[in-house]
């Protein structure tokens, strides 16, 4: 009797062991792949940092054909497009999340939520196409500028792409605010709006910050749509009207030039170098997002 139970237990232990080992292998291999990609990126990109003089690499002119590899205009291009996109997407996304979660009646919420998820699934090339042929002519026409392919156009399209992420994460954050906190606000004579803006949103603030940063992470890495609508002129976006002039982003540069570049050339390495900068940037943003989540957890959250 005892021996039989022992045997059964051993059998169970053995199965346990196999399953655990399998999960471990799968888990580690995913991490392994990420590491491999990162190592590849480093191997191909790092040479640019010592082969190209620093003054050239962080110069203001990007003309690879003349050995000018100034990445500054590309970096600023990405930052400008992304920041503008966030400035557009933040109020829209937060307001939409508040509407969907707090204001819309149940039936409207049931329709809106899946619709927002569908938005997230629109391929970026389709949005780029829409931007090129619908948004850009509109901007050119209304502002009377030579081309509608501008930073602002790119930012609009990007904002649109970041919106679903921002909305759904912000909505989750609002959802996590306990119902009794809303009741408490109302019970003190706050109107529904006062309760939303002065109780619910402040309680969900760190979640909403996370939402924006995740949206930003998505926007800065986006390539296709941006390449199609920002005009791709590698110029320093420093003047006030830069918003309504073409610019070029890091991602668009890599995508456009990688196909034609001679493997192993300085130009090739520099494109990977841009990849490293981009990676670091996205990494920092995600880190900041994670840090806010972590901080919230440690403080016991607002429950």
């Amino acid at each position: 009797m005892f021996a039989q139970k022992q045997a059964q237990a051993a059998h169970a232990d053995w199965r346990e062991f196999v399953i655990e080992a399998l999960i471990r292998v799968l888990g580690f291999s995913t991490i392994g792949f990420v590491l491999l990609i990162f190592l590849f990126l480093l191997r191909e990109g790092v040479p640019s940092f010592y082969k190209v003089p620093v003054s050239n690499l962080f110069g203001t002119r990007w003309y690879p054909n003349f050995d000018l590899f100034g990445t500054l205009p590309l970096l600023l291009g990405s930052v400008l497009v992304t920041v503008t996109a966030i400035l557009i997407a933040l109020p829209l996304g937060a307001a939409t999340a508040v509407f969907v979660r707090e204001v819309a009646p149940n039936w409207a919420r049931e329709i809106l939520k899946p619709m927002i998820e569908v938005l997230a699934g629109i391929p970026s090339v389709v949005l780029g196409f829409f931007g090129m042929h619908a948004v850009a002519p509109l901007i050119r026409g209304t502002l009377g500028i030579p081309t509608g392919l501008t930073v602002f156009t790119g930012a609009l399209i990007l904002a649109y792409m970041a919106l679903p992420t921002i909305i759904s994460v912000a909505e989750d954050a609002l959802d996590a605010v306990p119902k009794s906190l809303r009741d408490a606000g109302l019970a003190m004579g706050a109107t529904q709006w006062q309760t939303i803006w002065k109780v619910v949103v402040p309680a969900a603030r760190s979640g909403i910050t996370t939402a924006v940063m995740l949206g930003m992470g998505r926007a800065i890495g986006e390539t296709m749509a941006v390449m199609m609508v920002t005009g791709n002129a590698a110029r320093m976006p420093l003047s006030l009207d830069s918003l309504f002039r073409p610019a070029r982003t890091m991602t668009a540069t890599i995508a456009a030039e990688m196909g034609e570049v001679a493997q192993g050339s300085i130009h090739y390495h520099t494109l990977f170098g841009i990849g490293i900068i981009l990676f670091l940037l996205t990494f920092l943003i995600n880190l900041a997002a994670a840090a806010t989540i972590f901080k919230k957890r440690r403080r016991g959250g607002l429950r």
Binding site: L186, A187, M188
Partner: protein
């Protein structure tokens, strides 16, 4: 008899088609502590929430009957709901401080109501924290985050938050359910002083507590008001069999 502060008149209430209150009628006297008690799901919370219209935002509900406060039908379309809710304060089972400091929590409702006078705000701050028996413990920490207080302190803070609005009526839904016996005692003690100025309705978290604090007690069972009488009577000589069984712990 004094005129009723709250007159609940043949109230029935349903979530969807699920009727959770059936034809409930009772009068609540001013400056007294009335206890609503009975097993979970009896409709006590729902009835409390109806008295300050907190259920207005719940979708798909049906209501019959009237609720009068000071002779005025609060479901009349001319009622200004935020004003009603300032007159009828409510404290919930789980103490939930609002984001912000102790001071901000207490003065939150007044700020919304547009009170700006600093000395008046300070005065009310001290007064309501004193009434809720919390002042001595927090007077040096008024600008600390409210979430840093202990559970018992948070609950008394929530009471102070309601008192700051100087309501006539205070509804408390199991305010001590999450508290240790000492904090519970403090909250109960503060209730005794409160009833001089307020009409208090409380859902207690135990029969012992109900018996300790009730001027009048109402026993709810499955949405029906089974018995309503003075506390001294209802807990010692209940008239209905169901009440007796529940009070003596034979079911529930």
């Amino acid at each position: 008899m004094v005129e009723a502060k709250i007159h609940i008149d043949k109230v029935s209430y349903a979530y969807g088609e699920n009727w959770v209150l059936n034809d409930v009628t009772l009068d609540i006297a001013p400056n007294s502590v009335t206890v609503f008690f009975g097993p979970a799901g009896g409709g006590k919370t729902t009835l409390l929430r109806l008295i300050n219209r907190l259920n207005d935002l719940v979708e798909g509900t049906q209501m019959k009957g009237r609720i009068l406060v000071d002779g005025q039908d609060i479901y009349n379309s001319e009622i200004h709901i935020p004003t009603l809710r300032r007159r009828v304060g409510m404290v919930f089972a789980l103490p939930l401080p609002l984001p912000g400091t102790v001071r901000e929590n207490v003065l939150y409702g007044l700020k919304l109501a547009g009170v700006k006078d600093r000395s008046r705000l300070d005065e009310i701050l001290e007064q309501s924290l004193t009434q809720s028996a919390l002042w001595d413990e927090v007077k040096d920490r008024l600008d600390h985050l409210a979430v840093a207080l202990s559970g018992g302190q948070q609950q008394r803070l929530c009471i102070a938050r309601s008192l700051a609005l100087e309501p006539d009526i205070l509804l408390l839904d199991e305010p001590t359910s999450g508290l240790d016996p000492i904090s519970t005692r403090k909250v109960e003690d503060s209730l005794f002083t409160l009833k001089e100025h307020y009409t208090v309705i409380i859902v207690p978290h135990s029969i012992q507590q109900a018996a300790r604090i009730a001027d009048k007690a109402a026993f709810f069972l499955m949405g029906n008001l089974v018995e309503y009488a003075a506390g001294t009577e209802l807990f010692t000589r209940p008239r209905k069999k169901k009440t007796e069984e529940y009070v003596t712990g034979r079911f529930g």
